[in-house]
Amino acid sequence: MNHKIELPKIDELNFPLIYKHLGNFIKSEVLKAGLKSVVLGLSGGIDSAASCFLAVSALGKDNVTALIMPYESSSKSSIEDALKVVNTLGIKYYVSDISNQINEYFKNETDETERSENADATDGIVLKLRKGNKMARERMSILYDYSYKLNSLVLGTSNKSELLLGYGTLYGDTASALNPIGDIYKTQIYQLAEHLGIPKTIINKPPSADLWEGQSDESELGFTYKTADDIMYLLIDKMYKPEVVISLGFEENIVNNIYKRIKKSQYKRRMPLIAKVSERTINIDFRYLRDWS
């Protein structure tokens, strides 16, 4: 056993338990909703592949449906990798290209129509981000339509790293009914993926939201997931203050940047705020688990 305080590895010893635990989570929460199946978006990336493998282990291949929702700029290899997951697992899938909707919506928009007051705006980037968000929400909207159509719950595919960093679209890719991998850091997703038997091409490619050509998570974030995860494990799981994490030898500006990102994106991890007027307000002092039903 390793007693150094560092992000714990998912290895051959703890994997069987984590695997069974996550499978039972999916099965138990789906059954409690009175359903037996899930639908999820497959991007060709490692996170949705991991969620998909877990869902099949929990519910069986007949109860998992994948949606592949490419945009015209999506890389061909993403679609191939998504199909690899589908074929490996033998599950049903649908392909729904979202290019028409997105292009129609943005047809009269140019970079000149960007909102200049956006603090993060640099030339050309706002429209790109808006398009990326719109794509994520379009996919969510299709998933929820299929959720109703197939009488299935939407399975989430966001990992703990991106949820903490706010590296996701509110009501887009972060939306789901249940998420088996939301408490697992990206670094650990790679370890999990090895044990799940996810195709190597998916494990080995650099992480990307694939919202535009050549997009890379790590160059956009400005640090690697490995660094971020080591830092976030200490900040979040171990509740070390940023100055303590820095004193352990982590780069000051990265620690501060990550801590700032986590705080700034808190709204993405919570339900909308409700103004309290009555004596008993939803989620403030009207408090029940979702499983209450």
Binding site: M1, N2, P8, K9, I10, D11, L13, N14, P16, L17, I18, K20, H21, N24, F25, S28, E29, L178, F286, R287, Y288, L289, R290, D291, W292
Partner: protein
């Protein structure tokens, strides 16, 4: 009936997955388990903490409270009845409401149709993911009760994390400490095939059993409540500190295991820690600690 002269007891550990907020369904499940345990020779059936209601109850504590000393106790009548019919002892967890409308995280022991003990959880975790003090009132002691000559004490989950609880129980004469719990699975470590929380529990249970020279019966629940999974792993630890029976960390199941109370005799003779325990010294020190704290 437990017969101390042969010093053996058959105990059923019922590692269940209670249905959140559904007393009726849970009672039905308890009855099924009790009947089948009896068929396999069990004399006591032990269920987890809040086995009749589920754990993260939040506001539904208000709806589930039962005053066990009033007419409301009728809801548990089927359990009393089966206990009497089958001549068996049942230990199960419920939300207790007292005459003054306080709520407790409680565990009853019904033997041959009669209520013989209610333990109100004393240490109510209210930190991290837990919020028990928001809803429950603390119990005020650790009873030891007699089950046909065998002395038993019930501690509920967090109670056991305070080593003073088991200290009190064994010095009051407990031979068997029953720990019922609803412990969430949390924390992973490379090279460890169980959750960190399970590992902590197993170490703790072994310490209690070995150093207090008693049998420890740990009954934890399984299943999920809003994404939080409970870690099972119910087990029996003998006074040598060894695990005698252990259950799955994930699946609901029951085991029936025989405790050999002769081992208490053997262990307490070989390592007479309890005999040598200086209660007066402890009392003197505790009084001085309390006095000193007052001055501050």
């Amino acid at each position: 009936m437990i017969n101390k002269s042969n010093s053996r007891i058959n105990v059923c550990l019922a590692q269940t997955d209670p249905k959140m907020g559904d007393l009726e369904k849970n009672i039905e499940n308890h009855i099924n388990i009790i009947s089948s345990a009896k068929n396999k020779g069990a004399e006591i059936v032990i269920f987890p903490e809040l086995s009749l209601t589920g754990y993260f109850l939040k506001d539904s504590v208000y709806d589930l409270g039962v005053d066990i000393n009033s007419d409301e106790a009728a809801v548990f009548q089927p359990l009393y009845k089966i206990s009497e019919e089958l001549n068996i002892t049942v230990i199960a967890g419920f939300v207790e409401k007292d005459a003054d409308f306080n709520f407790y995280n409680s565990t009853f022991c019904v033997s041959n149709g009669k209520l013989i003990n209610v333990h109100r959880k004393v240490y109510l975790p209210t930190y991290g993911m837990f919020e028990e003090l928001r809803y429950f009132k603390q119990g005020d002691g650790f009873d030891v009760f007699d089950l046909n000559g065998v002395k038993i004490s019930v501690l509920t989950c967090e109670d056991a994390w305070h080593l003073s609880s088991s200290y009190i129980a064994v010095n009051k004469g407990a031979h068997i400490i029953i720990i019922n719990s609803a412990s969430p699975a949390r924390g992973i470590t490379a090279g460890l095939n169980k959750f960190n929380s399970t590992n902590m529990w197993e170490e703790l249970l072994s310490v209690i059993a070995f150093y207090y020279k008693c049998y420890v019966i740990y009954v934890n629940r399984v299943g999920f409540e809003d994404g939080i999974g409970f870690s099972g792993g119910s087990c029996v630890i003998n006074p040598s500190g060894n695990i005698e029976s252990k259950m799955d960390y994930i699946e609901a199941e029951e085991i029936i295991t025989e405790l050999n109370l002769n081992l208490l005799n053997n262990e307490r003779f070989k390592t007479p820690l309890l005999r040598d325990e200086n209660l007066n010294l402890t009392l003197k020190e505790l009084e001085s600690i309390i006095d000193n704290n007052k001055v501050k």
